[in-house]
């Protein structure tokens, strides 16, 4: 059993199976939160961190609690949008790795580029949800380990997770700008090559 002082400061119930509804601010939310805490992270915490569409992630989370480290679960958004979907889901580290990979792989061999893109989208489709749930569990555990008041903990959990439409919008705008600049540059180069005498063309090449 946790000490009363621990409960009052909203300590994690990782070492104790007894319910502690006060952690979730009482009421129905507190009741739900106190039910599931088998792997150290309660369902209400996960709901707060994962945000929208929690029901689609719940099954993956339950499989993880049952001992499966990487449960496979299909995600159409992951398959279609790949890193853009990860960006929407605030998986910053994964997005960074994919971008680094998308620069490094063509550098090694241009032919591997398409394969890498397909592989990442398939990976997002099959293991994306597991990655998101794992990240959410880590964030929830980190916040719960501090001992915030229930309201403060709830606020921080929601802030740490969720989705980011802004990041996707910014990425799309950035891609559009890069595309426009690249096409303008390529267009200007093509025009110069078409108009320039042969000697200049060979010097440019």
């Amino acid at each position: 059993m946790p000490r009363m002082a621990d409960l009052l400061r909203g300590a994690s119930d990782e070492d104790d199976d007894s319910p502690a509804p006060s952690r979730f601010g009482g009421g129905a939310l507190g009741a739900i939160g106190s039910v599931a805490s088998g792997s150290g992270t309660s369902e209400i915490d996960m709901m707060r961190v994962v945000g929208g569409n929690w029901q689609k992630y719940r099954g993956v989370w339950q499989k993880m609690r049952d001992g499966q480290p990487w449960p496979v679960s299909f995600s159409l958004a992951g398959l279609l949008f790949g890193s853009l979907w990860l960006l929407y889901r605030k998986q910053w580290g994964l997005v960074f790795l994919l971008i680094a990979g998308s620069i490094a792989i063509p550098f090694v061999d241009q032919n591997l580029s398409i394969g890498f893109n397909i592989a990442t989208n398939v990976l997002c489709a099959l293991l994306g949800k597991a990655l998101i749930v794992k990240g959410a569990m880590g964030k929830a555990a980190a916040i719960r380990s501090i001992g915030y008041t229930p309201d403060e903990a709830a606020r921080r959990l929601e802030k740490a997770g969720g989705t980011s439409t802004l990041a996707v919008g910014a990425a799309i705008v950035l891609l559009l700008i890069v595309g426009v600049v690249a096409s303008m540059t390529m267009g200007a180069n093509a025009l110069r090559r078409a108009e320039a005498p042969a000697s200049v063309v060979s010097a440019q090449a």
Partner: protein, 304 residues
Amino acid sequence: MIVAHKVASLAMALAFSGAIMLLIDRCFGSHAARAQIGRGAGLSLASLVLAVIFSMVAMIGGAALTGAARTWHQAFVVAAAAEECARWLCLLVLMRGLMTHEVGEFVAGAAAVGLGFGVIENLLYLTGSKDVLVVGALRGVLSAPAHFGFAMVSAWGLWRWLRLGEPAVLAFAALAVAILLHGAYDAGLMFWPSPEEWASHAMAAPVRAAVGLAIVGSILAITVATLLALSDFLDLSESRPSRRWDEAWMAFGAILLPLGALIALSAIGVVGYMSWSGLAFAPMLIGAGGSLALWATAIRQIAR
């Protein structure tokens, strides 16, 4: 170009940054810190985009400059000020989203902001380079860790200002130090003669020696500033592995002085008075070796 060369250059460009990230994780690692590493890596991409925008504005501002003034402007404004201001803004965003009050969470995130920037920059330089092994080795050992150092210095100022309530001037002074260190390092490299200029003796030997010393000196200054910031962060950290760090700090102090003297003497002797063009990279190689030795000692001591 052989694929094996490309893979080796990639490994050299990335491995040292990975080792530093492991070191930071070992010193400050926690659930929260690991969550911030991912966030910091994402923010490093944002800092890269912001830095490009700031650099373009700075280039327009200095379009009329020519000669040495143009080089100074490129080193201190187009590169250093633009990148450091972009990173500073991203560190502010990182700080706003911290989950706990533990300094380790911020340090891990800030390290990822700096190293992430350096790693992506390294990859971009590699794709546009012909001599990939040299570029991979030098940038892997010098440039990415330098970005980590600048991030640590700026992060130190921000933490002291926003979390410990110290005067704002401290945060801006730390930003200024980061810009100065960054600018000095870049200026040294930009003023360094190309192999053709070296062969034609366009730059006098004493000037070459001075530029070489400036490069080595800036590398040492970056290393010292980084370790001072890290040392203070470890003092502030609740989960400070004090004994290990004390040992590392002592080892660092013990080797810094003789190593610094050795580097200075080598730079003067090799670069200033010999005129073999193959030694054009000597100051950078010596600086890289010194930097690698310092960091390897710290990592080995901490991991012991």
